[in-house]
Structures are given as structure tokens and as C-alpha cells.
Amino acid sequence: MKIVVPLKQVPDLVEDLELNDDGTGLDYEYLKMKLNEWDDHALEEAILTKEAGDAEVIAVALDGEDVDKMLFTALAKGADKAVKITGANPYAGNHEMAKVLANAISGMSPDLVLVGVQSAGDSDGWLAPLLAAHLGMPSVSVVTGLQVSGNTATVHKEYSGGIMAEFDVELPGVIGIQAARQTPRYAPVSKVRQIQQSATIEEVAAGDLGDVVTSTVEEMKHPEKGGGAKMLSDVEEIVEVLKEKGVA
């Protein structure tokens, strides 16, 4: 079985997000990028599936800053192959990214595509269903449990209030992963470095995108801070509030 996992880099929220001069987007020059945490779960789920049976895991990413390191880390964790798509905008929205990925992935004829269900900056949708539409595959997102048997993936999709729905998806298909069965594994630095020496990252050029439906972000700003909360300085004030509300 062949499992493709697209990996996306997102701004690391540990740093303050700087905006570009005209306030229409982030200033990527000053951002630290990291692997989207949901993609890390998708990769983990792929590797667990591989370990439970027989599968080849291919990590795919759009070329950009530090992408090599991210792909080598994926190899160190257990991916079998890493592919980098060159000539595409790594900061593109999900509609455009879905098209770029679909062009690259369709040639790989995967049985399963595992995608992180979302990323912190998603403003135009989810990658998994958009990618599935281009690939002509079925898809289910917000999945926390995945079991593959033959040509069927049995998935658990999360709803609110702890309710879940079980679906059978006929493969090939695209699954949007909410959480892997276990915490994504850590790749020891020496292993990443060792792989950096020995492994190669395949490159493919981004194909023709044609028309992509996009929405235009016309303004980005930081939310006004502390507008709501009345700041208290000691515990007695909290007790006062609780008494006032009749709960203490």
C-alpha cells in the first residue's frame, strides 16, 4: 500500500506574527516556520499504519525555507521517500495548494492520502476535501481513528460533545487527520543528521495550475488587546466577583 502524506509549513506561533506593510498578510521574512502540528499527526498515523502492516510512506512538501530539514525529519521518523515540489508558492491558500499537490500526487497513484485536518492559518478551507476533489477520491475529515483493511479504510470522524461517526471509505481516498493514535514520535537529531548525509529528496516541478478559485484577504490585523477583561491584582478581588455573582 502506498500512503502519501503532504506536509505543510506554518508560522510558528511561539514568535509574534508580523504583518506586511500594507496589512494584507503576514510578513514571512520575519516568521519562523514549522511543520503544521496536524500534519505531524497525519505522518504519525501513516507510520503507525506502515508498522502495523505493509506500506510505503511518501512525504511530500512544497519547496520553501527549511523544507529539506522537515522532510529529512519525516524520513528519520520512518517515511520511506521524500518529495519536494519546486516552483510553487509555499504560503498559498489551501485551494491553490490542493491543486499543486494534486498535480504531484496523482502521478504517484497512492492508495491513501493522509492530511492534517487543518492548520492555524487556514482561511479558505481544509486541504483534505479540496485535494480529494482534484484527485477524484472520496474523503472524510476530523478523523481520530483509522484502520485499513484491504481496499477499505474504516475511520472515526469526530463530532461535538464526544460523539463520533464510523465510516468506511473505499480506497484510494483522502483522510483529514485530527489526531494520531499516539503522540507523534520524536526524531533524534543524530538520526536526522545521519539521514541528511545519506538520503536524497526527490524533486518534481509544480505543474500548470490553471484557474484557481481564491478569495482575497484584504486586511489582516492584530486583535485589540485586553479590551474585555477587567484586570484584577489580588485573589480577594476574585472572591468579591464570585460573591457578587452569587456563587461563593
Binding site: P129, A165, S215, G226
Partner: protein, 309 residues
């Protein structure tokens, strides 16, 4: 002004509260038509605030594939300027599916929509650190709205709106619904408590939950939590507040070490009084809280528990 198509959402035979929020929102934008896929007549009778309901007879249980195809068929009949879906696990599937089918632009994580000429959506992105306004053109377009962005009461009205029925299209048939899995019976019902003591990542370790439990005891409250605590297995799923957890509206919500990601805020921002204690003065939770305190949560909680005993 064109029609605003609201996609109703239901689970386990019940219309979701968010449907009414969307209808209220849509009524402020134009002529509201509700798409009800796989719903019942009983549901239709709750949609009195809409001018029309377009109904698709489909299986009662949501299926991203068949419901997506059905929504496509409804959209063809209605030809809306804006389609509003919820931002939930179901709503997002439908929003994305429709965008892919029709090539209509889509904005998600929306907290507000306006339609004066061009349709604009406001969204909280990057864990609430950025507020973005997206221009979706003159329509048709799709907006997935975060729960709790509008009052539900404005869109909740009994009545008998005009009903048009659309045939369910044959989907690709590759996704098969098997069953609903209900959560293990909850030990405590956090949705009925007057006071909740909610903990987040800032609590640090499982053993420290005890500190929150002691405070909860002193207030006759229950301990709730944000997603990371549930994911770590420190508390059962029945205690989770937020987008994928429960929506709560207690009299007092005490948020301890919760930074306030939009997914969490969605579940608690309608609480009557929110008191947030966090060591990070920039935490987004302080934007929705009524009272805030920048402090080490352990110091505060211990002192507070003592003061209440």
C-alpha cells in the same frame, strides 16, 4: 440582494443550535433559504425564521459525500449569493465540498459576514492572534461560521415555512456511514453546572489537576478542560469544552492556564461571567474574559481555595 442559503445541521435527530445562529445572521444579510438535508418535518417546523426551506430526503445520518452532493443540488436550485455553513466537523465538510464542486470562493473560521455589494468575512486566524477580513467578491460564495458568532434566539422561530423538495443526486458511493459512537456516559454533566473551573495546558501535569478539583469543590463546581488536557488523557472527553467538545454557558467560568484558542472560545464565550487566570498577559483568553489576572495559576488557586473554605 440575493438569497442567503443556510445549511442546517443536525445530529442524532436534533437540529444544532448553530443553525439558528446562522439563520439569524442570514436574516441580516438578505432573503434566507435553509437547506435541510436528511432532516425531518419536525425540524422544518423549527425553521420559521427562514423564508423557505429546501429539503433533500436523504439518510438521517450525515455523510460527507452524499450530503455534499445533495448540497450541490440545492445550490443549483437556489442560486444563492452567499452560502452559510457552520464551522463544525460537518459544516466544514459541506463548505469545502461545495467550493470544490462549484468553484465558489470560500472563507472559513468566520466570526462575521457582511454583504454590501461584495461579500466580506471576518475570521480569527492563527490561534486568534490575527483577525483577517476576506473579500469573496459579489457571490456566489461560501462562508463557514464559527459557532457562537451570533445569537441563536434571533434565528429561532417556530412556523411553517414554504418547503421545496429537491431529489437527492446519486453520489459516488464511496463513503459509507456505519454507525454513531456515543461517548461513554459522562461522570459529570458540565453543561448544567453554575460554575466551571476549566483547566488548560498551563496546568502542567496530571497531578496538578488536584489543585483545580479542590477549588471546584469549594465552589460546588465541576472541572472542565480544553482539548490538550483531554488529548493527554488527563480528564475524560465528557469534560472537554470547545469546538469538538461541549458548549457551556455557566454563570461563572474560571479559566486556569487556558490561552484561549478560537476552538476553545467557541465552547465557552457565552458564559455569563468569565474569569481568566494566565501567566501570559498576551493570552487571547483575556479578550473574551470579563475579569482577568496575570499570575501563576497555582498561587492564585491555592489562595482562592483557602479564601473560600
Amino acid at each position: 440582494m440575493g438569497d442567503i442559503l443556510v445549511v442546517a445541521e443536525h445530529l442524532n435527530g436534533q437540529l444544532d443550535e448553530a443553525t439558528f445562529e446562522l439563520i439569524g445572521m442570514a436574516n441580516g444579510l438578505g432573503n434566507t433559504v435553509v437547506a435541510l438535508i436528511g432532516g425531518t418535518d419536525e425540524m422544518v417546523s423549527q425553521l420559521g425564521a427562514a423564508s423557505k426551506v429546501v429539503k433533500v430526503d436523504a439518510a438521517a445520518d450525515f455523510n460527507p459525500e452524499s450530503y455534499g452532493a445533495a448540497l450541490g443540488a440545492v445550490a443549483d436550485t437556489v442560486n444563492p449569493q452567499v452560502v452559510l455553513t457552520t464551522g463544525s466537523s460537518m459544516g466544514m465538510e459541506l463548505a469545502n465540498s461545495l467550493s470544490a464542486q462549484k468553484n465558489w470562493p470560500l472563507a472559513v473560521a468566520a466570526t462575521g459576514v457582511s454583504a454590501n455589494g461584495s461579500v466580506k468575512a471576518q475570521a480569527a486566524l492563527f490561534g486568534g492572534k490575527i483577525i483577517a477580513t476576506t473579500d469573496l467578491g459579489s457571490g456566489p460564495c461560501i462562508v463557514a461560521v464559527v459557532g457562537g458568532s451570533a445569537p441563536a434566539d434571533a434565528g429561532r422561530k417556530e412556523g411553517s415555512p414554504a418547503v421545496e423538495t429537491v431529489d437527492a443526486p446519486a453520489g459516488a458511493g464511496k463513503v459509507h456511514f456505519k454507525k454513531l459512537i456515543m461517548p461513554e456516559s459522562a461522570d459529570v454533566d458540565i453543561t448544567t453546572k453554575d460554575v466551571l473551573v476549566a483547566i488548560g495546558r498551563g496546568i502542567g501535569s496530571k497531578d496538578d489537576i488536584e489543585v483545580a478539583e479542590e477549588l471546584a469543590e469549594a465552589l460546588d463546581a465541576a472541572v472542565a478542560a480544553s482539548r490538550p488536557i483531554i488529548d493527554a488523557g488527563w480528564l475524560p472527553k465528557s469534560r472537554q469544552v470547545g469546538k469538538s467538545g461541549l458548549k457551556v454557558k455557566p454563570k461563572v467560568y474560571i479559566a486556569l492556564g487556558i490561552s484561549g484558542a478560537p476552538e476553545h472560545l467557541e465552547g465557552m464565550k457565552n458564559s455569563s461571567t468569565i474569569i481568566a487566570i494566565n501567566s501570559d498577559k498576551n493570552a487571547p483568553i483575556f479578550d473574551v474574559a470579563h475579569y482577568g489576572m496575570v499570575a501563576d495559576l497555582f498561587d492564585v488557586v491555592e489562595e482562592l481555595t483557602e479564601a473560600l473554605d
